[in-house]
């Protein structure tokens, strides 16, 4: 078996006396759709921040495409091919829909600052290539008509979608989605599930999905990992997870009690 796309090996993250993630091992294979679930405060977002370089793990190894990413700044990790969305959308609020996506094209520019200042023909060509690639992306996700709108003017669901578009514009191999269904109504959630599936298939991506909403995760993920108090308590297919007593106790059981 070749090395998986993303491999976490005994990763531990400690903030002072608080152990947010402890001894966590995990992998995501090429173009696989994996879910990471767990109750509130289980350390899901911390795992995201560890993978994307926002935090540096206290112990353990994180490798992407066979190479360690520990100690790299987030922008370097994005350049390696990991893109993410945020739990609370973090769009560039003063920019238009189009410009939001354009910022993500920045890292693939073939030319530097002198090019932008001299505005030679190569610059014009590259800018128009970028423009058409952005419009193509926006069209796929049904946002082309809003390209010049301020991103704040978009409805919430569209803002989430725009965040995905923006992440895709970095041309990732692995897309991390942090609670994409948060704050969505049931119709929007169904749309979102379709969208995630579609994105994964269309772009041949691996997707790691952190989610609260069981229906979303169970519906689309091929494999699910359950995290509770920073520890992995279960891993398996949606069916196995649904019937795992530890998961029911930690997660679903509590919901039933309440």
């Amino acid at each position: 078996m070749t090395a998986p796309l993303l491999q976490l090996d005994a990763v531990t993250m400690q903030f002072g006396g608080l152990r947010c993630v402890s001894d966590f091992s995990f992998f995501v294979g090429e173009s696989e759709l994996v879910g990471l679930i767990g109750p509130n405060g289980a350390g899901k977002t911390t795992v995201f921040n560890l993978i994307t370089g926002v935090y540096r793990p206290t112990a353990g190894k994180i490798a992407f495409a066979g190479k360690s990413v520990i100690g790299h700044r987030p922008y370097r990790i994005t350049a390696r091919g990991i893109a993410r969305t945020f739990q609370n959308t973090r769009l560039f609020s003063s920019l238009s829909v189009f410009d939001n996506v354009r910022t993500a094209c920045n890292m693939h520019l073939r030319h530097g600052i002198s090019h932008a200042l001299l505005r030679a023909s190569g610059f014009v060509r590259e800018e128009s290539e970028i423009e058409s690639s952005i419009i193509e992306l926006l069209e796929i996700f049904g946002l082309a008509a809003e390209r010049d709108f301020s991103c704040r003017a978009l409805p919430y669901g569209d803002q989430r979608r725009l965040e995905i578009v923006r992440a895709l514009a970095t041309r990732p191999k692995l897309l991390l989605l942090d609670e994409p269904a948060a704050g969505m109504n049931p119709t929007e959630k169904i749309e979102l599930m379709k969208l995630i599936r579609f994105t994964q298939e269309k772009f041949g991506l691996a997707v790691l999905l952190v989610e609260h909403d069981m229906r979303v995760v169970m519906g689309i993920c091929e494999r699910i990992t359950v995290l509770d108090y920073g520890k992995k308590i279960a891993e398996g297919t949606p069916d196995e997870i649904r019937h795992d007593p530890k998961v029911i106790a930690a997660y679903l059981g509590k919901e039933a009690d309440a």
């Binding site: 700044r73 920019l95 189009f98 920045n106 590259e126």
Partner: protein, 324 residues
């Protein structure tokens, strides 16, 4: 390939040349104000790249201006005679000195930028303010630069043409940057640093770059100033000067080049206009201290603006632009 922005820059420079030919007829008083406007446009537009587009609140722009003013003045004073036998020689020496002054200021921007960008927001403002005072302090004690006596004796090379050609260049550089995909990194850093990093943008690089480019043009503005006034003094580059430029940026609207240029024009004329007003015989006596002290009016203007239009005069205009 014909590029509209480059054509506009070329037209602006040609227009500067043509207008410059007529500038001999203007009275020295108005000429002084007009050159002041040009220099302030350079300062405000370049500071806007740092404060407005990149969102890094710098309060040390006059420090960079001082570096440019003193280095270019020192160059023309020390080496002016080398090429100084012909008009062409002195002019090229002067332009070289301006660019060297800009580069010296850019270097200062780099050395200040790298360590001080570890702090943000108010703390960055304090660090840059401190830098401004350090530059002033160093000059005040540097005997070759005239120390507390100031430095004089430069020839008056700065004219309408050079001032406004450099102003046009500043505006061109800032706009070309922030409207390109390359420059979208500046805006991303301003809006959300964490998201910017997640989009593959090296936020440190963009912050330092904004500082370096901003400082370069501040340095050029300093050189223009030094070769117009023919006398420079450390107190001319104190934090009040920095504050003047920041007010132009805030009043014009952070991140709107048209806005800050207009504010630079208005705020250069305003003190002169107030000077004229305060000598009107019909002015009631209680108003006199206000018109005589522009800082009171500045602060009043800023307070009113912050209450009624927090985004500045032109703050939101750029966001609605159609074509990028």
């Amino acid at each position: 390939m014909i590029d509209r922005a480059k054509v506009l820059l070329l037209l602006a420079v040609v227009a500067c040349g043509v207008l410059s030919a007529f500038s001999g007829n203007i009275s020295p008083y108005y000429y002084d104000i007009i050159i002041g406007i040009g220099i302030n446009i350079i300062l405000a537009a370049s500071l806007n790249l740092v404060n407005g587009y990149t969102g890094q609140f710098s309060l040390g722009h006059a420090g960079f201006m001082a570096v440019g003013a003193y280095s270019s003045a020192w160059l023309t004073l020390s080496f002016g005679y080398v090429l100084g036998l012909s008009t062409l020689g002195t002019t090229s020496m002067y332009v070289l000195a301006l660019i060297a002054g800009g580069l010296a200021a850019a270097l200062a921007g780099l050395t200040v930028g790298i360590p001080s960008l570890r702090v943000r927001g108010d703390y960055l403002a304090i660090v840059t303010l401190g830098f401004n005072e350090i530059i002033k302090g160093v000059i005040q004690n540097a005997e070759p630069l005239g120390a507390q006596r100031g430095l004089g004796g430069m020839l008056q090379h700065t004219n309408f043409f050079w001032t406004f050609a450099f102003a046009a260049l500043t505006v061109y550089v800032v706009l070309s940057l922030v409207r390109s995909t390359y420059g979208s990194g500046f805006l991303a850093v301003r809006d959300d640093e964490i998201a910017a990093e997640a989009m593959g943008i090296n936020t440190t690089k963009y912050k330092v770059l904004a500082f370096v480019i901003g400082a370069f043009f501040a340095g050029v503005a300093g050189g223009l100033y030094a070769h117009f006034k023919q006398f420079i003094h450390p107190e001319g580059f104190n934090f009040l000067r920095s504050f003047d430029i920041v007010v132009m940026v805030i009043l014009g609207g952070m991140g709107s080049t048209a806005g800050v240029c207009l504010a630079a024009v208005l705020l250069t004329i305003l003190p002169e206009w107030l000077r004229a007003v305060s000598s009107y015989p019909w002015l009631p006596d209680w108003l006199r201290p206000i018109t005589e002290n522009r800082m009171i009016l500045y602060s009043l203007l800023l307070i009113i603006l912050m209450l009624t239009r927090p985004q500045g005069l032109f703050g939101a205009v750029n966001l609605k632009r159609k074509k990028t």
